[in-house]
Symmetry: C2
Amino acid sequence: MDLRQLRIACSSCSLRELCLPAGLEAREMARVDRLVNHRRKLRRGEHLYRAGNPLAVLYAIRSGFMKTCALHDDGREQVAGFHMMGDLLGLDAISSGRHMCDAVALEDSEVCEIPFAYLEQLSRELPSLQHQLHRIMSREIVRDYGVMLLLGTMKAEERLAAFLLNLSQRFAARGYSATEFNLRMTREEIGSYLGLKLETISRAFSRFQQDNLIEVRHKHVRIRDPERLRLLIGQQCP
Amino acid sequence: MDLRQLRIACSSCSLRELCLPAGLEAREMARVDRLVNHRRKLRRGEHLYRAGNPLAVLYAIRSGFMKTCALHDDGREQVAGFHMMGDLLGLDAISSGRHMCDAVALEDSEVCEIPFAYLEQLSRELPSLQHQLHRIMSREIVRDYGVMLLLGTMKAEERLAAFLLNLSQRFAARGYSATEFNLRMTREEIGSYLGLKLETISRAFSRFQQDNLIEVRHKHVRIRDPERLRLLIGQQCP
DNA sequence: TGAATGCTTTGATGTAGGTCAAAAGGGGTG
DNA sequence: CACCCCTTTTGACCTACATCAAAGCATTCA
């Protein structure tokens, strides 16, 4: 095993418990190592894939931060999700063999390429890999239901609160601070994700700051009162 | 093979090309037949499962019409989807082993039960079954992106137009009329799905009727001008 | 270092859709 | 068959968020 191989082994990756091989045993992990042969670096703003591109590989985010955008024929688009280390991208392409959304790096990022055909083959041999893949796809479906709930039933400030708490929780799961982080996306991208305009996002941020729920300064956010933020979500009006 | 077995064989089911075994060869289909041992009948209003129920089986809708509802802790809920013959339900439960939404029959319905553990096992042996399962899960993810786009970027009438065209297209795919059908859900349920109030749905229906796009009488809908309906969706305002 | 550019904030005003209310159908049930 | 209840329609009014506009900051690049 040469150095290059070693460098991209899942078994020695710090994200292995968050990512595709979560829960695999050493012997299984060794086989998954061979699944991932390539990494790809992306500069901020660069597309990982675009709607229409044929599916060849899935991508596991190794570092950085990305967004996926759903698009309508008429040019409208909406941020469908923000993705960070350990997240698996490209699942939308399995149904038709072509990507159905765009994926864009919001900061310099690195992804591991997972050949999909090989993943299917290997997951036939490794039940726990198979199950993990199913869990990841199912988790994405559940996440989507959450976004629908947010877009369909919540008011502006509830949406932003939910968004911040979700980010916070995901950073925490990756060993970063749950209360202090930098936003990688613009107000406009947050707005797109939450079904709101950037001005509304900005105003909601200002209001949260006034109420001492958070401190925001440009991209930097500190959550001062996660409990009240959480409470705010339950407050569907009268 | 006794009569009971025969009765629920996928291989002789008229929905087989829409459902889980789509695209399988005869030999593979025979094995899938053994996957499905039970059917379950539901009366209108009855729950197929509720959030929190443990995952044991997935459900393929054999006949009837169902809704799934995503729910938030605070009691808010939203219709996450409407489902008809050939659709596979329960995928949300794979990630955690428990259902994350409710599924309710909107009319008397029948579903086939597919033991999930056995499905995973069999799909390890039948690559095309495995791939079809992946495609179905991916299709659900893509569908969800479409709903997000709808909820995040469209106006009321665009949403309703998109909803009607989607129903129309799905009925057509099942051999029913694309232009004339009965709605199985209430205005309130349509509203919930589309992130709108029932009054808004009602007004939009009236407006479409005035404009000769459709005829509506209670639950019965006839689409008179699908083309203009389609055009209406592209019309994001100035 | 300074100019250019792209974000963000904040204010003033407009409007799509929500809310409240009432009446009219329809369908199921005894 | 008649009653009741649930759904739907329609009108009048209200509000949360969008839109328009302008100024203030950062970051980048020359």
